[in-house]
């Protein structure tokens, strides 16, 4: 990292290595890094990749969370596979571009996104970013517990047990005092996101129709403009959100990745994007059966959900797999989103922010991690809570607040003092700015239409 630290007389050269100041966090991280160096030294390409994958796959499959999968399913059930199938693929391509920037900034600076905003731009912008994150994360976490509750209800599991098991999962995953352990638990869980591809295959889609949709983006959606904008913005919010930027950058730092790891980290991010796009498209394709059979989908996200609606068309096994997929989507997301909250708060208050710390050494970090999950779980169990409305609006809040996160990320990735020769090339800035504008337009378009409809000025519906 080229940037100067605020302490005079310190540099980042090997000569300045502060021997004798090795913390337990350093020891844990260096043990994992030693395996990376050995794999690289011995030319084990796949071994090296295995050691370095994680943050990219986790962030992109983690964003295939409860409300995201329900948004994709709602897209398929409402409009079929025409426009939204290629649209989902494009939004994941945009997500990969954004996440690559976050990964690169983390690998070069060894600092989390929130930490860099605080230090580089000051506490005012730092706290605004963290408050944005807290608001979107809390709402999104609530929807993850809703997804777990709805998914498990298909198997007759009572709500308190379903929600409680989600909290226990978070507690179990953070208990090891090692980033590697947390990451591998989450990666193991993330594999099951591909259950949605299995359900899509079980729905027996027409390959020619899929190819036609990708080639022509048609048939185009028709009907209510507000509904179309809601689903459009929800799909964008299902792929590009503030927590992803916070999470991947901090996870890259916690994992101990360096600029030499950037090629493997890019593969990790692209692989995550491809897998997540496949699962997202799978949910849309599976639910498009409902569109074909003209099933009313307006209330499907409440209570009974998509699984029961799909059962007559894809059978009990297909519906059960869809429900299990929802449970997985929620479970992985509560781990990653809780982690992003804890990383951000730890960085904001200059406290510990690493899974490589023991529990007693980082009480606030693990407390934030588990505490935000417990608060979200408690909301889901409140009798009469507007769970359907929260689910529908969770992604929207993320879309609305995403442009601010993107602008700061682009500024950091272009900061030559921080990034040196690894700062953004011009073409990447063009794509990044285009993504920020499109996300902003999608969020604001929905907000304007929904607001005027809510105040009774139905100039468009």
């Amino acid at each position: 990292m080229a940037v100067k630290t605020e302490r005079p007389g310190t540099t980042s050269t090997a000569e300045a290595r502060p021997e004798g100041l090795l913390s337990p966090e350093d020891r844990t991280r260096s043990g994992d890094r030693r395996r990376v160096l050995e794999a690289r030294h011995r030319g084990r390409r796949f071994g090296l990749l295995w050691l370095l994958v994680g943050p990219g796959i986790l962030v992109l499959l983690g964003e295939n969370d409860g409300p995201s999968m329900l948004s994709y399913a709602a897209s398929g059930a409402t409009y079929g596979i025409g426009f939204f199938l290629p649209f989902i693929a494009v939004t994941f391509a945009a997500a990969v571009v954004v996440q690559e920037m976050a990964m690169r900034v983390g690998a070069v600076t060894h600092r989390g996104y929130g930490e860099l905003i605080f230090q580089r731009f000051g506490g005012f912008w730092g706290w605004l970013s963290v408050i944005d994150l807290l608001a979107t994360n809390l709402v999104t976490l609530i929807t993850e517990f809703i997804a777990i509750r709805v998914g498990m209800s298909f198997f007759g599991v009572p709500a308190p047990l379903a929600v409680g098991s989600g909290v226990l999962l978070v507690a179990f995953s953070v208990a090891g005092g090692r980033y590697w352990r947390w990451e591998r638990i989450a990666l193991g869980l993330s594999v099951f996101n591909l259950l949605f591809v299995v359900v899509a295959v079980m729905s027996r889609p027409d390959p020619a129709a899929l190819a036609h949709a990708f080639a022509t983006w048609s048939p185009l959606p028709s009907g209510s403009l507000q509904l179309f904008l809601l689903i459009l913005a929800s799909n964008i919010g299902a792929t590009v959100t503030p927590w992803m930027v916070f999470f991947q950058q901090s996870a890259v730092v916690d994992k101990g990745m360096t600029p030499r790891d950037i090629p493997q980290a890019r593969i990790d991010t692209i692989l995550g994007g491809v897998l997540a796009a496949a699962a997202g498209c799978g949910a849309l394709v599976a639910a498009s059966v409902l569109f074909v059979h003209h099933v009313d989908t307006s209330q499907l996200q409440a209570g009974t959900g998509f699984a029961q609606a799909l059962q007559p068309f894809i059978g009990y096994p297909g519906a059960a797999i869809f429900s299990l997929g929802l449970v997985e989507a929620g479970a992985l997301a509560i781990m990653t989103i809780s982690a992003s909250t804890a990383y951000a708060l730890g960085e904001a208050v200059k406290g510990p922010h690493s899974f490589n710390r023991k529990l007693g050494d980082a009480k606030s970090f693990y407390g934030f991690n588990l505490g935000v999950a417990i608060v979200a779980a408690a909301v889901v169990l409140i009798p009469g809570a507007p769970l359907l409305s929260i689910t529908l609006n969770a992604n929207l809040l993320a879309v609305v607040l995403m442009p601010a996160a993107l602008v700061f990320l682009i500024m950091l990735a272009n900061d030559r003092e921080l990034m040196g020769p690894r700062s953004n090339p011009r073409w990447l800035n063009g794509i990044g700015i285009a993504v920020a504008i499109l996300v902003g337009l999608a969020g604001s378009s929905y907000a304007v239409v929904a607001f005027f409809n809510a105040v009774g000025w139905h100039f468009i519906s």
Binding site: M1, V3, T5, E6, S12, A14, A16, R17, P18, E19, G20, L21, L22, S23, P24, E25, R27, R29, S30, G31, R33, V36, L37, T109, H110, R111, Q119, R120, F121, W125, L128, V253, G256, T258, K350, P352, R357, D361, G384, P386, L388, S389, N393, L396, L397, V400, L401, P403, A404, V407, D415, E417, L418, G443, S444, A447, V448, A450, F451, A454
Partner: protein, 74 residues
């Protein structure tokens, strides 16, 4: 910051473990803040404009959300 650094132990380092990390990856180095960047007036104005725009849009979304909750039959 002081609480954050309480975990640092003084003592003999395990050289091979240290060698696995880049110098600026050690916790003691990562704890040092990077220098503050002075934003130009145009950049600050742009960030403020974006923030006000997002607050307006957020308020509209929240209003629509609350209105939707109130109007949704239980």
């Amino acid at each position: 910051m002081q609480d954050h650094q309480q975990h640092i132990y003084l003592g003999e380092p395990e050289e091979d473990l240290i060698e696995s990390l880049e110098p600026d990856q050690l916790v003691i180095e990562m704890d040092k803040p990077v220098s503050h960047r002075r934003l130009s007036a145009y950049t600050t104005a742009g960030l403020w404009a974006l923030r006000l725009f997002l607050l307006t849009i957020t308020a509209m979304v929240i209003y629509a959300f609350v209105a939707g909750v109130i109007n949704t039959p239980r």
